[in-house]
Amino acid sequence: MLQAIDLTKRYEDQQLALDALNLEIKEGEIFFLLGANGAGKTTTINLFLNFIEPTGGKALINGIDVTKEPLESKKYVSYVSENVMLYGNFTARQNLDFFAKLGGKPNLTKEDYYMRMREVGLQEEAFEKKLKTFSKGMRQKVGLTIAIIKDAPNILLDEPTAGLDPKAAAELMQILVNLKRQGKSILMCTHDIFRAKNIADRVGIMKEGRLVMVRTRSEFLEDDLEKIYMNYMQEMVIENR
């Protein structure tokens, strides 16, 4: 379970990146965080991963305060970033092996890695190929495999579909649905409203560091999420003028 309680981040230049975010993502739930660039989506993920320290409130992973016990909290979270490059001179399997060991899974065999890569739809011939020869979609799949192998109860994804072709993005979404079925709490930051409509259980829209709207699946399907999101975006454009 992921929880943000009055989570606030103000940078040294006094810019308020996140303003008292309150959020709870339960087991087996996919939460899509939508918003324009600079709305605070990535800041939220950075705070959950303790990449930055909050200036107020707290972020909890499975009830563990990430600021107080960063190493303990990280045991319960996997992370997939935008544009996963990984180690280009390593093969897909070598990359998996390294991150699996970091994630506390030191005893996996080559076959285990192959199996997981098959699950995310990677072709057999790619398993022992160097990552630098991979397309972006393939690399994202390896990134997701890393998250899957860690088998943490929470998964954070930061714009994982950015730059992916529709087929690769659809495959990625299917994997997330499978993970959700396994009881994972998934927080995904994205601009991809269409994917949100497809698989999200709840959607939140962020604007200037604030979570301005949260809708459940039934609510946003009823209200036309696309229209609501565009309205918020337009408001922002007008305000900026």
């Binding site: 180690y87 506390g104 890393i146």
Partner: protein, 489 residues
């Protein structure tokens, strides 16, 4: 987990083309540098032996009082690791019957182009090439991972940051070390097979191991500096730019500028001016001596009742009183001459001492400024360990004094017994009289030139050794602490 991080680091570096480049440079340049330096040493050694032999053969039947004894200095065997001041250091000591010694450099220049570009010896490879390669290997160790997103992924796991940075330092250093040691071992094998230098003997191996350990510590500084620069910059582009600028600063600007700054802070006269001062002093004393000669002559003539002002010069030959006065003069002038010679030597020694102490002050200022750069510390330490450094200048002086004393006791004092000055006509001449036991008078040769022992060299340069350790710890600690609070975003 730490082990996995190190293994990953090693794998990552090994699969990078840069590590192949480092390996190639090490296995080609280190053996080449050692080989060329050793060959040059062998040439110098042969030239030394020839010169010594020629000197002995030439003078064995030509013993005389005005003989100038020559002591040939055997080149430092350890100069094969660092040529240092070899081209500048004297290789010959000369001394005369008055105990006045000089040092000379008679090295010929085989290829002036080599002088223009400098030598590639072990020291050069470490300070210039490997220090730069250390930066090239590490410049994107952090920024590269940040750009590829792997750093975020790594830190997103339950891994303490100190383990990540330690693994980076250890892993990259191990890879570098393997290349460096491979090149060094290959170099030693090459020397053993192709040269006459007993490189694996205790005399070579022990100092070399000390130099090797210091070199590893020195390169460790550059490793940590490279990693620190990678932590302190935002991109690999900025990191390589900063690394190159810092390297130019440390390797070229600071060492080369320090003597110039010392000259500005503490200006001293040039050697030419000091020589002029010495000549002026000599002239001054000689004029005084001439006056004293005149006074003495007047005095001895007056003692014999002869008025020097009115005396007729032609009478000197026939007049017994005048003859007696001249004999008195001859006796007394020896003492006067000795006194003025002593005065001259003392005055010259004061000028030289004063100049030497000024040089030493300037040298120390220069040394201390250049110690800002680890290359400065390494240079002073290694050049002294190989007996090609600044300390060797004063060591040569003490060897020269010893040789001068040796020549005096073994040659000049023995020759003096048979040496007589006599007057022939109006002038004074000298010669050897009596039966000489020639076998007891041997041509003085410099059979043992004392180079400082290893412990002495370390002891003399303990400041530099401590500074190298300090820099290594400082940059290591800075890298670790900076990374712990590093913004991985």
């Amino acid at each position: 987990m730490f082990r996995h991080l190190i293994i990953k680091e090693i794998q990552e570096i090994v699969t990078n083309t840069r590590s192949l480049f480092v390996l190639l440079i090490c296995v080609l340049l280190i053996p080449l540098g050692l080989y060329v330096s050793t060959k040059e040493y062998e040439q110098n050694k042969a030239a030394y032996k020839d010169a010594k032999q020629m000197y002995e053969e030439h003078n064995i039947d030509n013993k005389r009082m005005n003989f100038i004894a020559e002591g040939y200095i055997s080149p430092s065997p350890l100069s094969i690791f660092s040529s240092g001041l070899s081209g500048y250091l004297p290789n010959k000591i000369t001394t005369d019957s008055k105990g006045v010694w000089h040092t000379e450099n008679e090295y010929g220049i085989n290829n002036p182009v080599a002088l223009l570009f400098g030598k590639i010896d072990f020291y050069f490879i470490i300070t210039i090439i490997l220090s730069l390669l250390a930066f090239i290997v590490t410049f994107n160790s952090i920024t590269g991972e940040k750009e590829s997103g792997t750093l975020r992924l790594t830190v997103a796991n339950a891994v303490p940051r100190w383990k990540i940075i330690l693994s980076k330092i250890t892993g990259s250093y191990i890879v570098f070390l393997v290349s460096f040691l491979a090149g060094t071992i290959l170099g030693l094998v090459l020397l053993t097979l192709t040269t006459s230098v007993p490189i694996l003997s205790k005399n070579y191996l022990v100092p070399f191991l000390v130099i090797l350990i210091i070199s590893l510590l020195f390169l460790f500084i550059f490793f940590n500096m490279g990693i620190l620069l990678s932590i302190s910059t935002r991109s690999s582009g900025a990191s390589i730019t900063a690394s190159l600028l810092i390297w130019v600063m440390i390797a070229i600007i600071i060492p080369k500028v320090s003597p110039m700054i010392a000259q500005i802070i503490y200006p001293i006269e040039t050697e030419e001016v000091v020589n002029k001062q010495k000549n002026m002093k000599r002239d001054e004393i000689r004029i005084e001596f001439n006056k004293a000669q005149g006074e003495l002559m007047k005095s001895v003539l007056s003692d014999r009742g002869i008025n020097a002002e009115t005396m007729e010069l032609w009478k000197i030959v026939s007049d017994p009183e005048s003859k007696a006065a001249i004999n008195d003069y001859d006796e007394k002038i020896v003492e006067v001459k000795r006194k003025y010679e002593e005065m001259e030597n003392t005055a010259i020694a004061i000028i030289e001492k004063d100049y030497n102490s000024q040089q030493l002050v300037q040298q120390n200022i220069s040394k201390n400024i250049s110690r800002i750069s680890p290359i400065g510390c390494y240079t002073y330490l290694v050049s002294d360990l190989t007996n090609t450094g600044l300390t060797e200048l004063s060591n040569i002086e003490s060897n020269a004094r010893q040789f001068s004393g040796f020549a005096e006791s073994e040659y000049y004092s023995k020759m003096r017994k048979y040496y007589k000055e006599y007057r022939l006509g109006g002038s004074t001449s000298a010669g050897i009289f009596g039966t000489i036991e020639w076998s007891t008078v041997k041509i003085p040769t410099l059979n043992t030139y004392n180079y400082p022992k290893l412990a002495t060299a370390i002891n003399t340069n303990w400041t530099d050794l401590l500074l190298i350790c300090f820099y290594a710890i400082l940059f290591f600690a800075l890298s670790v602490f900076q990374f712990i609070k590093y913004d991985v975003r």
